[in-house]
């Protein structure tokens, strides 16, 4: 870290000089045999990757060389090869992420081009997906607006948050502050189990029980509603909220609570005026993670929603349930081709950007929390 900051001061040549100097020292100080093995192993891995990208059947050959040379290196020069291999594995993770991102953007390009709108003489690709509300992939005029699905996702996420946030924070507060240890030990695994129930189970219950019931009780035309999808998705996001919020509340230092109690505050007063405010950013991060889970939830939404691309009237009407970004992809991927398929990738891009921003936001908040509570300082 330090050397990195130092080099910033020097010019470009100076930095390059220093770096090549370090490389030279490293090379001269290391056993040439070990260097050769590492170079062979990493070089063949790169070759295998190039072969993979070009879909060549020969990619197996450099991969075999990689496995063999790494195996040999593991026996002879373990420390050095381990450094190289762990570095390579980390790179693989990042490269995978990069390839996925590149892929969905490339695949969605056709739909973005199709939905270009000219504003002040400049053609803006993709704008047509957001300034009009018609999605119809078959009949004329064929348009691919994502607005109905963005609306659906927003509705489901808002309702899910209204369910998951108060329930989740209350449960976290109970587990971390109020419950006796025996109860805590029993309840925490229970919440983990809740997190482990596959989403199709929720969806199936929703489709076979909740939808018909809602259709009957509320005299709806069909039983698909954003309300109940939101509630179901909220329950699914609940375990995430509880466990992250509970961590945040537990990480508030006892000294702060003790101080409050010593001044004569009751337990409840300490909770509301000390613990919760101190853990506020952590609890927000928990809720944001829950929201991210709700946005990405696919199976339950696909099974329970109607699967048509409309916006209810009025726009806040929760007793209709049409389509979310995820259910659009899940319900149509099998039949879509051409621009329609590309438009599904565009929905994927919107989802990706949304979830990415949420995850960055919650990480930022978590980092801030750690800083404020005097954990690590950077």
């Amino acid at each position: 870290m330090d050397s990195f900051t130092d080099t910033e001061v020097g010019g470009w040549e100076a930095r390059a000089e220093r770096y090549s100097g370090r490389v030279r020292t490293f090379i001269t100080e290391t056993d040439p045999g070990a260097l050769a093995v590492v170079a062979l192993s990493m070089g063949s891995l790169l070759l295998a990757f190039a072969g993979f990208l070009s879909a060549s059947p020969l990619a197996a050959v450099p991969f075999g060389v990689f496995v063999l040379s790494t195996g040999y290196g593991w026996v002879r020069h373990q420390a050095l090869i381990a450094r190289a291999v762990t570095f390579a594995m980390t790179t693989v993770t990042l490269v995978t992420l990069g390839l996925i991102i590149a892929f969905i953007f490339v695949e969605s390009a056709a739909a973005f081009r199709y939905e270009s709108v000219t504003v002040f003489g400049v053609s803006v690709p993709g704008l047509g997906m957001f300034v009009q509300t018609r999605w119809d992939a078959v009949s004329d005029p064929v348009r691919y607006s994502l607005v109905p699905m963005i609306h659906g996702t927003a509705m489901v996420t808002a309702i899910a948050t209204l369910v998951a946030a108060p329930l989740g924070v209350a449960a976290a507060l109970f587990i971390s502050e109020i419950a006796p240890p025996a109860v805590r030990e029993a309840v925490k695994p229970g919440i983990e189990v809740l997190a482990g129930i596959p989403s199709i189970v929720y969806g199936f219950i929703g489709f076979t029980i909740i939808n018909p019931w809602a259709g009957e009780e509320f005299a709806l035309n069909g039983g698909s509603t954003y309300l109940f999808v939101g509630i179901v998705v909220g329950l699914m996001a609940l375990p995430t909220v509880v466990s992250v919020a509970e961590d945040a509340l537990t990480s508030v230092p006892d000294s702060m609570k003790d101080g409050s109690l010593a001044l004569g505050a009751t337990e409840w007063q300490s909770m509301t005026s000390i613990t919760l405010p101190a853990a506020f950013s952590g609890v927000s991060a928990a809720v944001l993670l829950g929201v991210g889970r709700a946005i990405g939830e696919t199976m339950a939404a696909t099974v329970m929603l109607a699967g048509v691309q409309k916006i209810p009237e009025p726009i806040t009407n929760v007793f209709y349930g049409y389509e979310t970004l995820t259910s659009l992809i899940a319900a149509n991927y099998g039949n879509a081709s051409g621009t329609q398929e590309s438009a599904l990738f565009a929905a994927g891009v919107v989802l990706f950007v949304t979830v990415l921003s949420l995850s960055v936001a919650s990480q930022y908040i978590e980092a801030r929390m750690r800083q404020r509570l005097g954990g690590e300082r950077t």
């Binding site: 004329d140 069909g222 699967g307 099998g334 039949n335 081709s337 051409g338």
Partner: protein, 390 residues
């Protein structure tokens, strides 16, 4: 016809057997399946040796490679039942699945009358060597379930040998008829009626028959209440199918008059089973789905097209099983034309597809799973698309 073919095959097939087994022996040492299926095709075509790899299949066995199929959930029951029968390679003494014994015989057996096992017999018509063993057909068959569009794409990309589709490939892949004829062979194995079903409550309240015009009105949003078509004063819950699916395309084409006709529906569902369930769960729904999924709690309605009333009752004068019923559609199994198979159908595929085109196949694989069998003239036309039998 099959007995004729059998007589012929006795003389001609020895060369074929030798070629097949020689290739199979070579295949053991080399890369397995690909060489043998290439040589099968080539010997049929007179030996053009430049083709280098198999169309698709990746089976590891040394014999002819497995025939793979994928696609529409509507064609799946036919294809899958055929595949199961094939893979069982039941002996003719079985009686229930193949051949005949004291307890009965399979439909259409009088035209077959062979002492070979089921897959041995049908594969033998195209020059494959019999195994004579139950559960060990001359080559395997495998059917995967997805969607019409996926099946067409899979056969286009050479991922499978046979693409099952309930809609025409021209609509599924957005290609011209010329492109279809240049690249694919369309094997029709049966017909599917798409009856219009309503919830039991609506049927009981008097909606037993609709006109084509009324159904158009319902599906295009002009008719929103059952009272407008003689039913109860209740909103209509209109169930459509996944946008762009084979079922959706065929319905638009046949009922609304244009493959791109606009629709206004309350829900779109992907699977026949979901339509069935939604119609059962609601008391005001209308939907259309494959005949095979009719069940309790839903009722097929009679439809009046320009004065002809098509009844859901098989004994009526005009029924929804007739070829004239406008919502009937062909069930396709597409094969790909490529360098190795200029005719589009190699010997393995032909042997498997031919099974569906016999009286036995039509009865067992089409009619028994509630689809509509092809009339004789159509069967003859379909057989013409297959290569010569040995």
């Amino acid at each position: 016809m099959s007995s004729d073919a059998e007589h012929q095959s006795a003389g001609v097939s020895r060369r074929k057997y030798l070629l097949t087994s020689a290739a199979a022996v070579g295949g053991v040492g080399l890369a397995g399946c690909s060489s043998s299926d290439t040589s099968n095709t080539n010997s049929g075509e007179g030996g053009n040796g430049d083709a280098d790899s198999s169309t698709s299949s990746d089976s590891g066995s040394s014999g002819p490679s497995t025939v793979t199929a994928e696609g529409s959930s509507t064609v799946y029951p036919i294809s899958n039942k055929g595949s199961s029968y094939w893979n069982s390679n039941s002996p003719p003494s079985d009686g229930e699945y193949w051949g005949s014994n004291d307890e009965g015989s399979v439909p259409g057996w009088d035209q077959i009358q062979t002492d070979e096992n089921i897959a041995d017999y049908f594969a033998g018509l195209y020059g494959f060597e019999a195994t004579g063993e139950r559960s060990n057909p001359p080559f395997g068959t495998r059917v995967a379930l997805s969607h019409s569009g996926t099946g067409c794409e899979a056969v286009r990309d050479g991922l499978v040998d046979i693409g099952n589709s309930s809609g025409p490939i021209t609509a599924e892949l957005g290609i011209s008829e010329q492109q279809r004829d240049d690249n694919y062979v369309d094997h029709v194995v049966g017909r599917d009626g798409q009856p219009v079903f309503v919830s039991q409550a609506v049927y009981d309240a008097g909606v037993e028959q609709l006109t084509g015009e009324q159904i158009r009105g319902i599906y295009q949003g002009d008719i929103a209440n059952w009272s407008e078509v003689g039913g109860p004063d209740q909103e209509i819950y209109v169930v459509g199918r996944a946008e762009g699916s084979g079922t959706d395309t065929t319905f638009r084409l046949n009922m609304l008059g244009d493959a791109e006709a606009p629709m206004d529906v309350d829900t779109r569902l992907g699977q026949n089973q979901q339509v069935q369930q939604v119609l059962q769960n609601n008391d005001n729904a209308i939907g259309y789905m494959a005949l095979a999924f009719s069940g309790p709690g839903i009722q097929a309605v009679a439809i009046d097209f320009d004065g002809t009333v098509f009844q859901p009752d098989p004994d009526a004068e005009n029924t929804i099983f007739d070829a004239e019923y406008p919502l009937n559609r062909d069930l396709h199994m597409y094969t790909r034309i490529n360098e190795e198979t200029p005719d589009g159908t190699d010997m393995r595929e032909a042997a498997f597809l031919n099974m569906f085109l016999t009286d036995f196949g039509q009865q067992v694989f089409v009619e028994d799973v509630n689809y509509i069998t092809l009339p004789t003239s159509d069967l003859d036309a379909e057989k013409q698309k297959l290569p010569e039998q040995m």
